[in-house]
Structure formats: C-alpha cells, structure tokens
C-alpha cells in the first residue's frame, strides 16, 4: 500500500533525527516541574509594609494577628515603617506589594464600636499578589471581629471547608493530564502536515508529486506516521509525569487500554485538524506562527490549567468544540480518578466525529500540485 510507503519514509527520517522528538518529550515534563512549583497552592513571602499609627491595645492585637500570618503560612513578610508617605512611595516603586495602615483612632473606634478600619493599599499591577494579601488581611480582621463579637453568634464569620471527593490531588499532579495533551499537540505540530510543508519548502515534494501517490496516500501516510510518533511520545511523557508527581494509576489494564485509545484518538484529531490548516502552507514560518496561536487558543481553555467551569460563557462555549478540552477531560478521568469507559464515552464519541470531519476536510483542501 502506497500510503504505508509514505509513512515509512517519514518514520525513517524521524528515527535518523531524534532530537526534535526528545526535545518534545522533555519540554512538557519541564513545564510540569516549573508550572507545578510556581503555582503551588497559595502565594508565599509577599513583602508588605506595616504602618502602625495607633498605640492602643487593639492595634497590638492586629499586629499579633499579622505576625501570626508571617510565622504560620508565611503568606506575608512584614516590615515596619513609621512614615506613611514613604511607605506608599515604596509600594508605588515596586519594593513592596502593599501597605497595611493602622490609623491613630483605631483602638478608640473599636472601643466605641464605630466601624474600626484598617487601611490597605495594594500594588494593583500584580493582581494575583494583591488578591492574596487582601484575602489574608480580611481574614485576620475577621478573627479580630470574632474576638470581640463572639457574644453575637448571628454575626459569626462563616467558615469555609473544602471537601475532597477523591484522594488528595496536589496542584502539580493535576497538571499531568494537561501535559500529556501538550505533548500530543507538540507531536502533531512537527509530524504530519509539517513534514509535507518542509518538503515543499526544500523543493523535495517535486520528487513524489510526479509519482502515482494520491492525495489520500499523502495525507493518510503522513498522519499515520504522525500518530505513531505522537502516541509513543505521549506514553513517555505520561510515565515521566507520573514518576515526577508520584501518582499511581488508579485503574487496571482496562484503564491502560482506554488511555492508549484516548492518546491515539487525540493525536489523530489534532493531526487531521492541523493538516486542514496547513495543507497549503509552503513555509515553516507559517507553521511557527499558526502553531503558536493554535497552542494558546486550544490549551488554555481546555481545563488543563484552569477549570472550564470558571471560564466566561463565550470561552465555555468554545470549550465545547475544543478537542483538547475533551482530551484533558478524558485523561483526568482516567489518570486522576481511574474511571472507566462510561466516564469518557462522550469524549471518545466527540473525537470520532471530529476526526471523520477533519480528515475529509484535510484531504479535500490538500493541494497536490506544485
């Protein structure tokens, strides 16, 4: 079969130049290590200034509570400063993430019970740190309130308790399904259509366009070799990811088979989609631009790093047709929960339809002439 010969050529060439494959295995794993450690749970060591202008007893209590935050979860790193103006300047100049100001009348207001207030000035350009500081300081204030208002149970601050449905999953472990999808995406960008783009760019395609190879032979042949390379890559990345995060696969052989099926279908889906997009490209730079763009628009709204449920409506709608979202969902079910076929049936059905549609489109739009 001629398409097999196309695959054979492609595979041989990759085997002789394994660098790109090795790099594409290494990169998602690096990403896992870096992302997993950068965003580990809550933020830590945020530098803030404390300006205490009150000498009363309640301000001491506030300082104690803040110090507890510094010593306990290490969210804050507090430096004292007496000059309020200087403190504000230092935040503006970026040396600190915020200033906490206890005004002179604070203790008095607590005693009089007329809404005692603590001033909080934040560097809003770093919204993540700002949100975190504002959160921990309000919580500390709530404790203060609780201290004095404990007698009024109706005003008791509600407590938040998260319930873990599955065994505790660390943030970097929950990234594993995402990096498998990332590895598949990377694999599909330098195999498949890209092989043909490079041939065109180098002028080598002339050699096989004058042979009886049909459009289908070329499309199917390059996609087949792409699926093989990409699936092997994603298996290695999955094993690496599991080793780094220390997760054990929950399911048995059945889960492994389903994992393999999901990998193959994801690779096929992405390869045929990229083939449709790149079928007419003749310069690797076009590929670079398009692939970078596709990576962002498919990866971030896929649930790999941020839950789809929390996305705005229009992005949630996009996620419904985003193949990576289905892949991430399926991998999460299989790897993190050890679910069975029923949990991912919808994902697989989506892929079957998506692949059929994209393969037709790819074959139709592929230009076989020079």
């Amino acid at each position: 079969m001629r398409a097999l010969a196309v695959s054979e050529r492609d595979l041989k060439r990759f085997m002789r130049n394994p660098f790109v494959i090795i790099a594409s295995i290494f990169m998602p794993l690096m990403y896992l290590v870096i992302m997993g450690n950068s965003f580990q749970g809550e933020l830590k060591h945020l530098p803030v200034l404390l300006v205490n202008q009150d000498s009363g007893p309640y301000s001491r209590r506030v300082v104690e509570l803040l110090q507890a935050l510094e010593d306990g979860p290490r969210t804050l790193e507090i430096t004292r400063e007496n000059d309020q103006k200087k403190a504000v300047d230092m935040v503006r100049d970026g040396f600190y993430k915020g200033v906490i100001i206890i005004p002179p009348d604070f203790s008095k207001n607590v005693v009089k019970n007329v809404e005692p207030q603590v001033g909080l000035l934040l560097d809003n350009t770093d919204s993540i740190s700002a949100g975190s500081i504002s959160g921990v300081v309000s919580r500390a204030m709530a404790y203060l309130k609780a201290d004095y208002l404990a007698v009024r149970p109706d005003r008791a601050t509600p407590q938040l308790r998260s319930i873990e449905l599955y065994k505790k999953i660390d943030y970097d472990a929950s990234l594993v399904p995402g990096i498998i999808v990332m590895a598949i995406f990377m694999g599909t960008t330098f195999t498949g259509a890209f092989s043909l783009v490079m041939d065109k760019f180098l002028g080598i395609h002339e050699s096989y366009l004058s042979t009886p190879l049909t459009r289908f032979d070329l499309v199917a042949g390059t996609i087949m070799s792409g699926v093989l390379i990409t699936t092997i890559m994603s298996i290695i990345v999955m094993i690496g990811g599991l080793m780094i995060t220390g997760i054990k696969l929950a399911g048995g052989i059945g889960t492994l088979v389903l994992l393999l099926v999901t990998m193959v279908l994801t690779a096929l889906g992405l390869l045929s989609m990229i083939f449709t997009v790149l079928g007419r490209a003749d310069h690797p730079r076009i590929v670079g631009v398009l692939v970078g763009f596709l990576n962002v628009i498919f990866y971030f709204p896929s649930g790999a790093v941020y839950p789809i449920e929390s996305l705005p409506n229009w992005l949630r709608a996009f996620a419904k047709v985003n193949p990576e979202a289905y892949a991430v969902h399926a991998f999460k079910e299989l790897i993190l929960k050890g679910s069975g076929f029923t949990a991912i049936r919808g994902d697989l059905m989506f892929f079957v339809a998506f692949i059929a549609f994209m393969l037709c489109l790819a074959t139709l739009t592929f230009k076989r002439t020079m």
């Binding site: 054979e8 050699s207 009886p212």
Partner: protein, 336 residues
C-alpha cells in the same frame, strides 16, 4: 505510431510572465530529445507540464498518446522524472530512497529488489548503497536520482538540467550512463540543458528555446548546417568603416557577417582558403587587425544565429533582471 510525447500549442502564464509561449513539438519513441535554452527560458515549466506537476494555461500535451491534463494518474505511471533540484532524501540511504520510491509505483517486492540491484550497479553506487545520501557528492546524488527515476521501468524519462553544477568528468559519466541505458532498454529520454556540448553530444534532436518560444528544432548536425557557413573568423578591426563592411559582405566566399560589440564574426566556407584573401584586402584598405580567432561552427553559433546573443549573455541578462526592481517570487527548484 503514436509519439512518445506530443505537445500542441502549450502556453503557461504566471501572473505577468509567459513562461511557455505557444510551443508545439513531438518526441519520437526511443530518441533522446533535448531542450536547449538559457536560465528562465521556460524549460522547467515545460517539463512540469509534461510530468503533470502543473496545468498548462492552454494547449494540449500527451505522453504515449495519454493526455496529461485529463489522465494525470495514467501518465504518472509511464514517466520517470529527474527534476532540476536534487530531491533525494538525505536522511535515507540510497537503497531506502530507491525502495520507497518503488513502493510509490506499486512495484512488487521481488521486482523492486532486482531493479534496485541492477540500477545501483548501472549508476555505480553499489558499494555506497547502505550509506546515507547526506554523505554523497552532488554527482553521486544525481546518479542516484537517475536510478530512482527508472525504478518502475518508465516509458519515458524526463531530466531537467541533470548535469548542472557538476564537473566535466561527472557530466561525461552521466552522458555515457544515459546513452547506455537508452541503448539497452530503448527508453525515450527528454532532457533540458543550457550546455551546448551536452546537447550536441547527447541529443538526437534539439529544440532551442528562448523566452518560452521554440526558435529552432532539428538534429545538431542539421542545425549547424542550416545556419550556413562552416567556419567562423572572429576579428576585431581598427580603421574599419561602413564602406569596408559593404565590401566585406560582397566578397564571394563570405556567407554572412554579424557584429557583436567591437568584433565581427565572418562566416566563411573554408577559413584556410579565405584568410589570405581577407588579409590582402584589409592590407590594401589600411585596416588594422587587432584580434583574430578562428573556430568551427558549434551549437553556440546556432544559438547566436537564432537568438542574437550567446547563451551566457542571455543568462547575464536574466541575472541582471533578477537583481533589478522587485525580487522575483520564490521559485521552487529554481536553484540546485
């Protein structure tokens, strides 16, 4: 008998350029047919149309009587192509290159193996068969690609400037190779070149193509004969005016005179006999001979006769044109 290839009024236009302009000719079965022309003459474009890589803007072409536009897949089974650019896979060995190419043509395994052995022997690459093509020289790669073009035993082989960039020794090897294959198998060969000697040595018939048009078509011997005169005296003269020119042209043994820059090309039947008479005449009229050369008619002269310039000049013009306003669109396979 059907022609091996038949071309009728083929025109190919790219945006503003007419690369092939109303070309008609036919190639006989078993002959080596050559197209001679400078860079940009339209040789590659013509081959691409005949090998179904491009559709003509108008006109018809057929291979073995099969229309190239209507039945491209049938035509592809009958042709072997060695394109101008080197297109073998560097990451594969010679053997793998041939083997995979054979599979593209559905050549059965046993036959493929025999073919590869035979062809690698023919192109003298047998002992390098297991080496990556990346380690090959340009000439070796070209020989491999000729073998590749023959793996499915085509009816006609197209070669687009197969010896471009090769040293004289390697060029001769390829000429001998093609002649030997033709003799053994009766293969029809269609070749383009911008080397005069190549066209002269190799081809049974030659079409001279310039600016997309065929300006002459015949066997090398006939082409040389038809432009008349057998020897050329090339001279640069001092103290020589229009009157002298009139007189020169009127001399009985002078076939024709063409002017080129500072020098004259005087076409005569026999240089040895005419020279003394010429010298006498120049002496009498006080003309000074500053430079003199004699040569026998070559295809170069045929080319000059039909296009009014040497093939090298034609190429320089082309290059100047490229350097001039507006870079040309990137042309796949334009360079080697």
């Amino acid at each position: 008998m059907a022609y091996a290839a038949e071309v009728k009024n083929i025109v190919k236009k790219f945006q503003s350029v007419t690369a092939v302009n109303d070309v008609s000719f036919s190639v006989n079965e078993g002959e080596i047919f050559g197209f001679l022309g400078p860079n940009g003459a339209g040789k590659t474009t013509l081959i691409r149309i005949l090998t179904c890589l491009m559709k003509p803007t108008s006109g018809q072409a057929s291979i073995r009587g099969i229309d190239v536009v209507k039945h491209p897949s049938l035509v592809r089974r009958n042709i072997g192509v060695v394109s101008q650019a080197l297109t073998s896979d560097l990451d594969l060995t010679a053997y793998e290159n041939l083997n995979i190419y054979g599979k593209y043509f559905d050549v059965p395994k046993k036959e493929r193996k025999e073919s590869i052995d035979y062809l690698l022997g023919k192109v003298d690459l047998k002992d390098r068969a297991k080496d990556l093509v990346a380690t090959y020289s340009g000439g070796m790669r070209r020989r491999l690609e000729i073998a590749r073009g023959l793996i499915h035993k085509p009816y006609i082989l197209f070669l687009d400037e197969p010896t471009i960039g090769l040293d004289p020794q390697s060029r001769r090897v390829i000429w001998e190779l093609l002649q030997k294959i033709r003799k053994e198998t009766g293969l029809t060969i269609f070749i383009t070149t911008h080397y005069m000697d190549e066209a002269d040595v190799l081809c049974d018939r030659i079409g001279i193509i310039d600016y997309g048009k065929i300006v002459a078509l015949d066997s090398p011997a006939n082409l040389k004969r038809t432009i008349g005169g057998f020897d050329i005296i090339e001279v640069t003269l001092g103290n020589f005016g229009p009157e002298g020119m009139e007189k020169l042209k009127a001399m009985p043994f002078v076939k024709s005179v063409t002017e080129k820059d500072e020098s004259l090309r005087i076409y005569v039947e026999d240089a040895a006999k005419s020279m003394p008479v010429l010298f006498e005449e120049f002496k009498k009229t006080g003309v000074i001979i500053e430079y003199l050369a004699i040569h026998e008619q070559t295809l170069e002269d045929v080319f000059i006769h039909y296009t009014g310039k040497t093939i090298r000049e034609a190429e320089t013009q082309k290059v100047n044109f490229f350097i001039g306003a507006g870079a040309p669109r990137r042309m796949p396979g334009a360079r080697i």
